[in-house]
């Protein structure tokens, strides 16, 4: 029997060979093996992640072996595209995070297991329940095309687009089923995914079945509370304001005031209770098939009234081996049921602005008993009661997802160096959405409210196969891999429209299919285990481009040198590991959602509200669609220098310098008017450059029997700059609230993408801003668009992550901190609301932020572009802190219980005046607030 040294658990699949022969076998699930050997033969036991062992056979009948885990992290297995390698042999920038390193806390969706953990990876999640995240690896290498990384679950690349009714592509996945993440960052690592790899790749590996029985049960309860509100006037303050503050020179009508004092933010937000339960079982089914089964439920209440997220997950993993482990089959099948009730986030703004002198309820109101501004039974113009708007609407989404893959790995019987892998993947999400409002909803419209029903279905089918050949020739180890991949995505659905409105029609949609086909190969050559070379090549075809442009070639190469294995460092006590890496490669981008068939000559008919009339009869007009038959790949070339280091056997880490240049950007730019069927189409123009430095360090400060302290620190410095734009022309972007079509950001050559473009505010001698007065920067005596200047951008210059785990006897403590430095945010809440004229909301009164007292501005349109609303939003956040205690060997069956408690969103240190400095895209227009959550949980192991 072969067992694991520290736990005595049998190890299946250990290679047992007689050295210098082809005679060999592998252990079964119970670690047993049989081999014929002669006295004096050297038997070699090897297993990835363990130190190999050689035994000189002395004729005994049974030979029990204990394999020792390879302490050096260098041999940690790293999953890379279409295969795996060891950390020591890796030539690219790849970071692997396994379950013990995961970020802890209130983890509802899987990406948060990675929050703050990996240099170069930023994850921004909103506060809404079950919400998706914006994941960026090295800032994103595109401007108009997708900046989302490619996410692969057990070999199945998933679609980056979600469905209506779901919170996003990762929201359906149970974080508890995840075993590890591999983050591929540089081109030498990602190029094997060719056309989809420019924004990095995240490979998720789920937990597998095991031969021995174990089971876990996790329960977690959390209690959330919002800790902050946007400052607005209270009822009494508001009454005083109305009495004293003229708007545009005329005093306000006090008779519109009510007698109540309502804090509308308190009325729409609530404290929340949420729970998660997970059961998993591992063991051998029919004593032959290592199996894992998991079941999880999550119920998360949203801080905004009515919003709620529920999910149930079923997972099954079957991992049998046949023919002495020559054939391994991995089946991974998952079902997820996601039920959402969405709270209308627009009501957050409505609550800010709602008259605080009015009550929530009004028994005489014909609108369901809620107070509304009205004149008899007729609703007045202006905002409607936000509490009513939330409670009278049920916007429900129900997404069912089934995904998984079936993986065959066959090691040829006569050529054990050759391995064939076949991977079949399937992912289907079907959703239903119901949007139903009460018929007592506040409206003067003859159509009372909404009742609509929608469906959507996305499918993703993937097939790939590859051959892998690895052999040693003396001091040279080679590994060659070549394969083929096919993937097809579909998306369609429909909506009934408002069934109460005779003018509303049902509609359907069906996206063009997206088909991606690739041929790929990779060669790894290692000389003396010290000099490593990796060459990869992929040729990809996409259905998004015309026949002449659809194929692209994506090569990459990397060299690595394990200097610490050289004689002059081999015995160093200081430097335990040192590796230099250099890599270069080209990756592609073709993800232009919404333009999947722009190369085709198409016409589009108007929908039922967009017809024309000839002779007073309706005729469906057909309008030629914009066309670009010349569209081709956007290409990103990456060059990277990296150092992986280890010091005193305690400290490990890496330092990377990289530069990415994206050329032929898929960019929406003007075409000469009259020569196409739009004024602007997506084209290949422009260049974006990203330069960066990443640094990480992992330290085991103390590593003793009773006490372990380690920390992980990572830092990312990023600079993104537009080198070239279409026609050298600025592009305004970053739409803001407060008027139709206002933009606050700009794309300009030589600047960071989405730099803020603002007017320079003038101040009087006592330092107060002068309303509507700006510096005439071009000196032409007119203040117009030409006087806007560029100031800062939404992206952080430096991103820091810090995490620490402390174990003392049975006690464990962990926390993590994150900081962004140099990110700016435009406070759109103040810019569009903190002006006195906003007190008049049509014919009724409205509340405004108390920050008005800092400026005393009257008119939104005069000040909305002022740089006074642009703020430094650098922050330091403690995302979570968790304390746990483990009781071991509680009973014969119960191996351990861990009880733990923690806090999510512990604190934020920032100078930013808004609610939360971490906004999306640098424009703070009332994000769904992130609550502070107190967590308690228990973890049982059987």
């Amino acid at each position: 029997t072969v067992t694991e040294q520290s736990t005595s658990i049998p190890l299946p699949g250990v290679n047992v060979v007689i050295k210098n022969t082809t005679t060999g076998t592998a252990t079964d699930f119970d670690g047993n093996y049989q081999i014929e050997a002669k006295k004096g033969d050297v038997i070699l036991f090897s297993y990835v992640g363990y130190q190999p062992m050689e035994i000189i056979y002395s004729g005994q009948k049974t030979l029990n072996i204990q394999l020792k885990e390879d302490a050096a992290q260098l041999d940690e297995i790293v999953v890379i595209g279409y295969g795996s390698t060891t950390k020591k042999d890796a030539t690219g920038s790849v970071e692997s995070i396994t379950s013990e390193d995961f970020t802890r806390g209130n983890i509802v969706t899987p990406e948060n297991l990675l929050s703050g953990r990996v240099a170069g990876v930023s994850i921004n999640t909103s506060g809404s329940p079950g919400s998706g995240s914006e994941i960026r690896i090295r800032g994103g290498s595109s401007i108009n095309a997708s900046n989302n990384p490619l996410i692969i679950i057990d070999g199945l690349p998933i679609d980056n687009n979600g469905v209506n009714g779901s919170n996003g592509i990762l929201a359906t996945i149970n974080p508890n089923d995840i075993d590890s993440f591999s983050v591929l960052k540089d081109a030498s690592a990602t190029a094997i995914y060719g056309s989809r790899a420019s924004n990095g790749v995240i490979i998720i590996v789920t937990k597998k079945g095991k031969a021995t029985f174990s089971a876990t049960y996790d329960a977690q309860y959390s209690f959330g509370e919002l800790t902050d509100r946007i400052g607005v006037f209270s009822g009494d303050e508001f009454r005083q304001l109305i009495a004293s503050q003229p708007v545009n020179g005329s005093s306000l009508n006090e008779s519109l005031l009510g007698t109540a004092s309502t804090d509308w933010q308190d009325e729409i937000f609530r404290n929340t209770v949420s729970s998660q339960h997970n059961i998993s079982m591992q063991g051998s089914l029919f004593k032959a098939i290592p199996t894992r089964f998991s079941f999880g439920t999550t119920n998360q209440e949203g801080a905004l009234l009515t919003s709620n997220f529920e999910r149930r997950n079923l997972g099954l993993a079957l991992n049998p081996s046949f023919f002495d482990s020559h054939l391994k089959i991995n089946l991974n099948a998952n079902l997820a049921f996601e039920d959402n009730r969405f709270g209308d986030t627009g009501q957050i703004g409505a609550a800010l602005g709602y008259d605080p002198t009015q009550p929530v309820y009004d028994p005489s109101s014909p609108f369901g008993g809620y107070y509304q501004h009205r004149n008899g039974s007729l609703l007045s113009n202006g905002t409607t009661n936000p509490v009513a708007s939330l409670l009278q609407r049920n916007n429900y989404g129900d997404a069912n997802r089934s995904y998984g893959n079936l993986n065959f790995e066959y090691k040829f019987h006569f050529i054990p160096e050759l391995k064939a892998v076949l991977n079949l993947g399937y992912d289907e999400t079907e959703s239903k959405t119901i949007d139903y409002t009460s018929t007592l909803v506040a409206t003067n419209d003859p159509v009372k409210g909404n009742s609509s029903f929608g469906t959507q279905k996305r499918t993703n089918k993937s097939f790939d196969g590859y051959l892998n050949y690895s052999k040693e020739f003396g001091d040279v180890r080679t590994e060659l891999m070549t394969g083929y991949s096919y993937q097809k995505f579909t998306n369609n659905g429909g909506n009934t429209g408002n069934r109460r409105d005779p003018a509303s029609f049902p509609s359907t949609f069906a996206d063009p299919d997206v088909v991606l086909i690739g041929f790929f190969g990779r060669a790894n050559i290692s000389l003396l285990d010290k000099y490593l070379l990796t060459v990869t090549y992929r040729r990809d075809g996409t259905s998004r481009f015309s026949e002449k442009n659809r194929w692209g070639n994506f090569p990459a190469a990397a060299l690595a040198w394990n200097i610490s294995d050289e004689d002059f460092l081999k015995d160093s006590n200081t430097i335990s590991n040192l590796k230099l890496r250099v890599g270069y490669g080209i990756t592609g981008q073709q993800d232009i959602s919404g333009n999947n068939d722009i190369f085709l000559n198409r016409y589009r008919g108007g929908d039922q509200n967009s017809q024309y009339q000839f002779g007073n009869a309706v005729i469906e007009s057909l309008i030629a669609s914009e066309i670009n038959p010349d569209l081709k790949w956007e290409e990103t070339s990456t060059i990277e220098f990296g150092v992986d280091y280890g010091l005193f056997d305690k400290v490990t880490g890496s330092l990377n310098f990289f530069q990415k240049n994206s050329t032929d950007l898929l960019f929406t730019a003007s075409v000469a008017d009259g020569t196409n069927f739009s004024n602007s189409i997506i084209q290949n123009i422009g260049e974006l450059q990203i330069q960066g430095v990443e640094f990480s360090v992992n330290t085991d400060i103390v590593k003793k029997e009773d006490l372990n302290i380690n920390f992980n620190f990572n830092a990312t410095f990023l600079k993104r700059e537009i080198k070239e734009l279409a026609l050298g022309q600025d592009v305004r972007t970053g739409g803001i609230a407060g008027g139709t079509g206002n933009n606050i950001q700009i794309l300009r050559e030589g600047e960071a993408p989405n730099s803020f473009s603002v007017f320079k505010q003038l101040y009087d001698t006592s330092g107060n801003p002068i309303e509507g007065a700006y510096v005439d920067l071009n000196g032409d005596d007119i203040i117009n668009d030409n006087d806007r200047y560029l100031k800062e951008n939404p992206n952080a210059d430096v991103i820091l992550g810090f995490q620490s785990n402390i174990n003392y006897k049975n006690l464990d403590l962990s926390f993590n901190l994150r900081a962004n430095i140099g990110n700016y945010a435009y406070n759109n809440v103040n810019s569009s609301r903190a002006q006195y004229e906003r007190i008049l909301d049509n014919s009724v009164l409205a509340n405004i932020p108390t920050s008005i007292l800092n400026t005393n501005f009257q008119r939104t349109s005069d000040v909305i572009i002022s740089d006074i609303y642009l703020e430094d939003a650098s922050f330091l956040k403690m995302d979570n802190i968790t304390l746990g205690y483990t009781f071991n060997n509680v009973s014969k069956t119960l191996k351990s219980i861990r009880l733990w408690g923690g806090i999510q969103n512990v604190f934020t240190i920032t100078n930013y005046s808004g609610l939360d400095p971490e906004v999306f895209g640098g424009i703070d227009n009332l994000i769904y607030p992130r609550p502070r959550t107190v967590l308690a949980g228990a973890n049982f192991k059987f």
């Binding site: 113009n381 299919d513 967009s610 007009s621 030629a624 929406t668 009259g674 117009n784």
Partner: protein
Amino acid sequence: CTADLDITPNDDQTTLSEDLFTNETAYKQVLAGIYANLALTGTDGAGSSNLKNIDAGTSQFGRVLLYVQSLSADEMIWSYENDPGTREIQRNLWTAQNPLLLGMFSRAHLSIALANNFLRETTDAKLDARNVSTTVRNEMPAYRAEARLMRAMSYYYMMDIFGKANFSTEDDALNSQPPAYDRAQLFEFVESELKAIDTDLIASRQNQYGRADKSVAYMILAKMYLNAEVYINESRYTDCVSYCEKIINGGYSLATNYLHNFMADNNTNSATNEVIFPIVSDGLTTQNYGPTTVMINGSVGSIEVNGTEVGVSAGGWGGALRVRKQLANLFNSSFANDTRNTIISSGRSIEITDISDKDSGYILQKYSNATSTGTFGVDQTFVDTDFPLFRLADVYLMYAEAHLRGGGGSLTTAVGYINALRTRANNSNTITSGELTLDFILDERGRELHWEAHRRQDLIRYKKFTGGNYNWVWKGNGSNGISLPAHFNVYPIPTASMAANPNLTQNTGY
């Protein structure tokens, strides 16, 4: 299986062109697409747009035309100046970056592209190849002439507004960089084109409602001739008079009630006798944020909350539109009962000293989503009211003006036309031939045609738009009006349009 990379559209609203024309009704539908570009901004509802870098609502043809011709002049004020571009248009501060100007330039050029495409797809060679039936082929000369008419109309507006256009015809390739034509070249092209299609166009008032006939071509010609001194520095008033006569002889008559022209049923009521070319709008099937939707919702008063009177929600758009003092003054006390006077002044001051104060200034109620029989349009936002782009009353006024400017015709006839308009408006103050002066006509045009997207062109012809001899409130960003430099007689070429075509150069002064 790399053949899977050859995809076709799956959506039932989208068709490949190679499949489209196997169905012969497609020709009429593609023709309807050219017309629809004047009413719709996209194919998927009022908020959709096939133009980019401009808000869908504000790239609607009729709406941006209203902005550049009426909002920029002495008749209209838009309260929401945080809607980009509106402030600069109504205060005459525009730059080449103005999004509304981009909307105007791009939308009109899209009509050109759609017309060129139709002409390419309906050549004899293509029709032969597709074995098109005789029935459809018999209609084809009229279809093609209408496509050319819509193209010429776009060039006409570009000539008037920008003084330039990208010039491309059905012979030019897609995504090319076409030559830029100046006013003289455009004048020559539009004139010859409109004359060339005359035989193929359907006779006046004989085409289906919503489609253009000979009179539309005559109307454009008449307007070009009336303004020829501005465009090409030539006097063409005689041509103007003769084309006005051609229109008048086409069988038009004034609507029985002035306001019928601006009502929800103006596609069926007596306005059909008067309207020469409408931009169609329908609360159900042709929803848009076009000029009638904007003016009906926008003219609802902030104090009056009188939306239900005109068939939209009570508050409408909260007082988005008001009247400048100069327009209000055209309707002095002797016009109190003139039906063209729809001004509501009670409880309001005539002055607008603060544009964002929606309670100041007069409002008016010219357009309505109510029908002549007292019912209302189907929707409370999107109106059924078609926008009368060209109508007979304008022709009467043009005739009179061209006559006074030496274009011939008869003074008696001219006075008769003016008095017909007054009589129709229930105004007993008819004029004598001695009272018919050019200044009178400009004022009368204001009274008859305000808010119909003509005013800027009229003021330029009268040399009153730029310079300082006529200052209306907020002209040049002065609350009482200040002089404008002469280069403001044309708008600047939008930056984005110019960058995409190096052959286009900026107008002098910008």
